[in-house]
């Protein structure tokens, strides 16, 4: 595998682990924890709907919900999730360079997402002490940011192992992990998007 620039003489990437360990365990672990994360967001959405059914309408007076930001955040998350599947594609083809690039792009997109979401939070003037909606808004955003940050972490760990030659066509499981985790992160956002921007 010829490469220009610095050559680290990495070991062959597609040598399967020979210790009897089943690498697909990680994929199922991610699915189990992903289900838990989506249920957390569903519960927060349920709380939101309960408050809305009470005395308060959304958005409260003085707070503007800009669909432009919601759409931009959704598009960013969609792109990030798609790139996650690009990672898997590259891993299965044995193209380490492409996989590394895709992972970097995914991390960058999730970082942009967190950046914009934080900006939107600050601009809403709806802090956790403001009122009931403030507490809920803060909780929903904080949970989404925490899940997105964990997505960056997972992508980063996968990137390190891709660069180290520990992920390849014979061992694509971490590629599956990156793809599924990115999908779960975007699912978490879309639950929040539906709650905050769609159900008004």
């Amino acid at each position: 595998m010829a490469a220009s620039g610095v050559q680290l003489s990495l070991p062959p990437a597609d040598r399967a682990g020979d210790d009897g360990h089943d690498p697909s365990l990680a994929v199922y672990g991610v699915v189990a924890m992903g289900v838990a994360a989506v249920v957390v967001m569903g519960a927060l959405m349920a709380a939101w709907l309960a408050v809305e059914a009470g005395t308060q309408t959304w958005p409260p007076k003085g707070v503007t919900v800009q669909n432009y930001f919601g759409t931009t955040l959704s598009v960013t998350m969609l792109m990030s999730a798609t790139v996650g599947w690009w990672v898997l594609y590259a891993v299965r083809r044995g193209d380490r360079r492409q996989a590394a690039m895709a992972l970097t792009v995914a991390m960058f997109l999730e970082l942009c997402f967190i950046n914009l979401l934080t900006y939107v939070m600050r601009g809403s003037h709806l802090g956790p002490a403001t009122n009931a909606y403030g507490t809920l808004y803060y909780a929903v955003n904080a949970a989404t940011i925490a899940v997105a940050a964990s997505g960056i972490l997972v992508a980063g760990l996968t990137l390190v192992r891709v660069l180290g030659g520990q992920v390849g066509p014979a061992r694509p499981q971490l590629g599956w992990v990156a793809a599924w985790y990115g999908t779960f992160v975007s699912l978490v956002w879309f639950v929040m998007y539906t709650t905050v921007y769609v159900v008004k």
């Binding site: 682990g17 020979d18 210790d19 009897g20 089943d22 697909s24 365990l25 199922y28 672990g29 189990a32 924890m33 289900v35 838990a36 994360a37 249920v39 957390v40 967001m41 569903g42 519960a43 927060l44 349920a46 709380a47 309960a50 408050v51 059914a53 009470g54 005395t55 308060q56 802090g127 956790p128 002490a129 403001t130 009122n131 009931a132 403030g134 507490t135 809920l136 803060y138 909780a139 904080a142 949970a143």
Partner: protein
């Protein structure tokens, strides 16, 4: 199928196990281990230690009610009530089952280890840390309100925040630990079963853990969300749970309720699985209708969620068992499983073991709770079933007592595997007397107080037949002391067995003292680090029985 049918080619050999690097990164110690067997023992020990703390608090609460004007806990009654309830349910019963599962599930399915050993270690230490923080939250000040025991939302009070903040975050931590442990067990059962061990052939305890793990993965996150909102509301006083906030109670009940209500019944799910294995082993027979038993276990899990809607007014139905049609349905699969046990037992073949005493205790406490649930609606309890002292009896019998009996039945049954040497049966009988007697006496005292009109959630009896109430409270205190002594005796017995086994010769520690039929008894007692050298081919739900039935054993 003829006797000369050609056998397909043997499965491809697993590649030789690569030896680990010569020098370990860190030395093996209790703090660095990821061995599921050690972690399982630690879970059991930690859960019992937390139960000891919970039982001491329970005794103090009953003593507070045992005479007029006593001020042992004073104004902290509500908070300690919540701490007692939380410590015994969240820190004792569920983690005890998780600990047993952590130890036994890989052995029962023929695996070397859990799917994620280091995640299991992280989950354990997070549970211990969360438990310590929960107990320590009280030292940060006077925490707010009654916590999750109350049906009414925890209204924020600024200024008392730190203790309540810590209480909420520690509950978040413990729930995270339980969800991670559940995910680990779920994936382990899914992916690490021995070849030939289909889902229909897994032992009943492992099957029940699969059901419990799935339920925790679905209900635990809802509770997490609720506790996150509680923390934010308490910390910032935004008013989400303020009395004036519309639907505040609805939010509270939905989020705490979806965990609290199923959890009341979910603690019975692993009990059904474990006791099915216990009864079958000591009866020296396969369980009658094993698939029906598996169906009943999962039906209990499904119905545990269904009882969410058991009370038209969910106001008062957060964490207490509530008699209604839907909660009555859950008796059906439990009763069916008990009938299967009875059908499996043949008195002539039954060999007495102390674990069977605990099975009997489990059944008796459940029957007593069931009878009282049927009788209570006609007794016009003061405050109804959710406002009367009667509920304390119901909780101690059905929610805590019965699952504790079942868990100890499992511990005593599997003690040769867990500690290498079976726990002393005489001491086990004494422990049973203390635990069963303690729970029975506490429940009886509370039921009697309830029928006599005593209310719940009061720190002093000021009206009604107070002299009777004081006596009932004294009786309940005696029960609490017995439970405490029983737990202490158990810990001492376990420590003695462990110490003996460490110095005993291998021939003194038989692998299979019961001539059992499930796979965990194929491993040595206690098992070596990788559990098995090899496991027999699985062709039924009783692989060891198949092995013994074959002439010449299992040589290919």
């Amino acid at each position: 199928m003829t006797a000369t049918a050609t056998r397909p080619a043997a499965p491809a050999e697993v590649a030789a196990v690569r030896q680990p690097p010569a020098a370990a990164v860190t030395p093996e110690s209790p703090l660095t281990t990821s061995d599921h067997k050690r972690l399982g023992r630690y879970y059991i020990t930690a859960a019992v230690l937390f139960a000891l703390v919970g039982s001491v608090i329970g005794v103090l609460l009953e003593l507070e009610l045992s005479a007029k004007g006593i001020q042992i806990v004073g104004t902290s009654y509500d908070r300690l009530f919540s701490l007692h309830a939380t410590a015994t349910t969240v820190l004792f019963v569920t983690p005890l089952w998780i600990g047993l599962a952590t130890y036994l599930v890989p052995l029962q399915i023929g695996a070397r280890r859990l799917a994620f050993p280091r995640l299991a270690a992280t989950a354990f230490w997070t549970y211990v840390g969360g438990g310590i923080l929960l107990l320590a939250s009280y030292t940060f000040g006077t925490p707010n309100g009654m916590g999750i025991v109350s049906s009414v939302a925890l209204a924020p009070v600024k200024g008392v925040g730190r203790a309540t903040d810590l209480w909420a975050t520690s509950l978040i931590l413990i729930t995270l630990a339980l969800v991670a442990a559940a995910a680990n067990l779920f994936v382990t059962i899914l992916k690490l079963r021995a070849t030939g061990m289909t889902m229909a052939r897994v032992p009943n305890f492992t099957w029940s853990i699969l059901a419990l793990s799935a339920a925790i993965l679905l209900s635990g996150p809802v509770f997490l969300a609720g506790m996150l909102l509680v923390f934010l509301d308490q910390h910032y006083a935004g008013g989400l749970f303020a009395a004036s906030q519309g639907n505040a109670n609805l939010v509270w009940q939905h989020l705490v309720w979806l965990y609290g209500r199923p959890d009341v019944y979910l603690v019975a799910v692993p009990a059904l699985g474990a006791l099915s294995d216990v009864v079958a082993t000591h009866s020296h027979r396969r369980l009658l209708q094993p698939l029906v038993a598996k169906g009943a276990i999962f039906a209990t899990t499904i119905l545990a969620f269904a009882v969410l809607a058991s009370n038209a007014s969910i106001e008062r139905a957060v964490v207490q068992p509530t008699p209604s049609l839907l909660s009555a349905f859950i008796v059906a699969p439990i009763g069916l499983t008990a009938l299967l046990w009875l059908g499996t037992i043949r008195p002539a073949q039954l060999k007495f073991h102390v674990s069977l005493l605990y099975v009997g205790g489990f059944a008796l406490l459940l029957v007593a709770a069931g009878v009282n649930a049927a009788v209570a609606p006609s007794q016009h309890l003061v405050g109804g079933v959710n406002g009367s002292a009667w509920t304390v009896g119901q909780i101690h019998a059905a929610l805590i007592g019965a699952p504790t009996m079942a868990a100890f039945a499992a511990v005593y049954h599997w003690s040769p595997k867990i500690w290498g040497k079976a726990l002393n049966q005489l001491i086990g009988t004494l422990v049973w007397l203390c635990l069963f007697g303690g729970f029975a006496i506490t429940s009886a005292g509370a039921w009697a107080a309830g029928y006599d009109g005593a209310p719940w959630h009061v720190d002093n009896y000021t009206s009604g037949a107070t002299s009777h109430y004081f006596n009932y409270a004294k009786l309940a205190s005696v029960g609490g002391v017995l439970v405490f002594l029983g737990l202490l005796l158990f810990l001492a017995s376990a420590a003695a067995s462990w110490a003996f086994a460490r110095h005993a010769a291998p021939e003194d520690l038989p692998a299979d003292p019961y001539e059992a039929s499930t796979l965990e008894w194929a491993a040595a007692s206690p098992p070596p680090p990788d559990n098995f050298e090899s496991v027999p081919e699985i062709r039924s739900d009783a692989p060891l029985a198949d092995l013994r039935a074959r002439p010449g054993g299992g040589a290919a």
